[in-house]
């Protein structure tokens, strides 16, 4: 019998899955607003996109408080240690059934590559998508705030679209990486139950 460790707490799991749902909704509606396809209709897509944005912002407000009160924020501190080993594992080891170079523990549940990826998400994609998104949301207020003196909607839309593509790319890679546990659904199961089998 292998050891089971409790990696993801209840709020964390709730956060993860509701965020996943909101991000999927926002990607679907966002690319519809962008004109890539028709699904809900433009007006409905804008409405859903806007509502999802405010919901996710609220969720993030709670999450940020949670991260700091629990100290979980440290999980996202980057490290370069063993990054080369992780890369080597995904390029070679994973195919030869080599042992995973990183052992998950409740205080270090993200491998070094994950930490880098999440840091990139937080420091690059998140400011880009939220900064441009909030400017987009508050477009009606631009004249009152004097914003349209130095900014055009075109640039905001451009930045927001760049952010959208980055998040979609992140999403694809992220979903694929969940299958790289010791069984294809091991990571997903852990994110649902909180418990992960440790080898």
């Amino acid at each position: 019998m292998s050891e089971r460790i409790y990696l993801y707490k209840r709020f964390e799991r709730f956060w993860h899955w509701s965020q996943a749902l909101l991000i999927i909704i926002m990607m679907l509606t966002g690319f519809e607003i962008h004109g890539s396809y028709a699904l809900l209709g433009f007006a409905k897509a804008v409405q859903v996109h806007t509502l999802a944005a405010w919901t996710l912002l609220t969720l993030w407000a709670f999450t940020i408080v949670w991260q700091f009160t629990t100290g979980e924020w440290r999980q996202y501190l980057p490290t370069l240690k063993k990054v080369d080993a992780m890369v080597k594992y995904y390029v070679l080891g994973i195919f030869t059934d080599a042992p995973h170079p990183f052992k998950k523990t409740p205080v270090a549940k993200h491998n070094p590559l994950q930490r880098l990826a999440y840091l990139a998400f937080l420091s690059l994609m998140s400011p880009l998508i939220w900064g441009s998104g909030l400017l987009y949301l508050f477009y009606p207020q631009w004249p009152a705030w004097g914003v349209n003196q130095w900014l055009s909607l075109e640039w905001v839309a451009l930045a927001h679209t760049v952010g959208g593509f980055m998040i979609l790319t992140f999403f694809v890679a992220h979903v694929y990486m969940t299958t790289t546990g010791h069984t294809p659904f091991a990571h997903i199961k852990a994110m649902i139950t909180g418990w992960e089998d440790a080898h």
Binding site: H34, G35, F42, T50, P140, T161, T169, D197
Partner: protein, 558 residues
Amino acid sequence: MKSGLPALLISLALALSLTGNAGASAVHGSPPKKTGKSSTADHSKFKELQQDFKSGQEVTRACLSCHTEAARQIMQTRHWTWEYTNPDTGQKLGKKTMLNGFCIGDKSNEAFCNSCHIGYGWENDKFDFANEENVDCLACHNQGKYTKPGGLAGHPAYVRTEYPPGSGTFLEPVDLAQVAAHVGATRKDNCGACHYNGGGGDGVKHGDLDSSLNQPSRQLDVHMSADGGNFSCSTCHQTDAHQVSGSRITPTAADPHGPLLRGQASDRNPATCQACHGDAPHQAPAGSINAAREKNPELLNTHARTLACQTCHVPAFARGGVPTKMTWDWSQAGRMGPNGKPQKIKDEHGHITYDSRKGQFGLGENVVPEYLWFNGKVSYTLQTDKINPDGPVAINTFHGTPGAADARIWPVKRFRGRQPYDTENLNLLVPHSAIPDDTAYWYNFDWDKALKVGAAATGAPFSGKYGFVDTEMLWPITHMVAPKEDAVDCIECHKQGGRLEGIPGVYIPGRDRHPWLDNVGWALVGLTTLGSLGHGLVRILTRRRQDTHDDDTHGAQS
């Protein structure tokens, strides 16, 4: 107390007459039945109007005996002078000299065209614009049974008249005393008698003005419909001293202000949408959140920084069942019917598409407008202007810088014509067409004669050589305002190939993108997907090899 008894008697008489007219309820303070008549004067009781009028001028004399300033006011208006100096361009405009792509021009055809002049007797240059009795009060204030047929120089038929001459059909004389006894405030059909029929027939010119507006459905015009606002034209075109507000020569393209208060001193045009609705008219119902609504009122108001109200709220023109002319090709005129006589060809709906006198027409109903940036400034190609015969010649040009604060994206009707011009002097020509004589085109089908007489009347040079040139003319679309549920939907513009395709100066989400960003973005997503699938595939292939010993391990785990 001296006047006590008479006052009591008058009140009693009033009360009795009200009882007789509107039922007893009116006496007891409930609101009187809406009869549409709110005037304090019953003109049929005026002795001045109980005459056997022989002419329109005699009626006018009677009107002016009470309305002493009316004629002088009228004489200040474009309705009277047909002359106007455009303050934006300095061009001398007005119906007297302006050209169009429909009947082309007024000069030499006055006796016909000037049936739409609010005066009596303008058939040539000798018309006396200073004679107050020449003002036609009845044209705008009749309540029916008063028409001014083309050819009578602005007069109605005073005696039984064969019309058109030689046709064998007769016009009955107008009963001036009856018409004068029933005058009142202007009604839709008063304005419509001319403004619906510009270009020679119902709905021909404007596209957003035709007789369907007399009794429109709510869908056709939410303001003018009896189920809606029940407006007459003058409800919006507020008039002061006979000066009617609103103009297609100098329209108000952008009016970024709140609603006008009653009595507020302002030089704003009272006929704009914003004069009543303000520039932020979309509102969420009380208690609801803007951002939570499918059509976020705040976002809709933001559109007013870029769009004219009409762009969304007049989804199409000629919606009332009356077609409008979209094209008119004069070069096709003169083709006779099988019997050698002038012919008219009708389409399956009974609308004329060919007339030997006029040429070939293209008609349109439910026409989606074209859109352009417009700041209200319009310049015209006049007869004194040289044209480029390669065409199309812009008979009028709407100005406006894309994205400028003083301009909005406006809906327009783009009319396409083909009309005569002087191939040597390169100016547009006005044909003498509508007067039954030896030279008018409609009666002789001889362009040389018609153009020569027309040119002489307009003072334009004429080399004797003529051709036909393609022309275009723009008409602002502003009437036929649909109810809000029928406004243009977001997706009509927020997509590629939508209504505003190609309109510069504005970033429209859904329409606009940077193609290179989309290419790079989708390539990145695609490569990531492919990479993941490839990586996964290799994992599956390599795993199969290890299946045997894996089974043991996994078996032990479970």
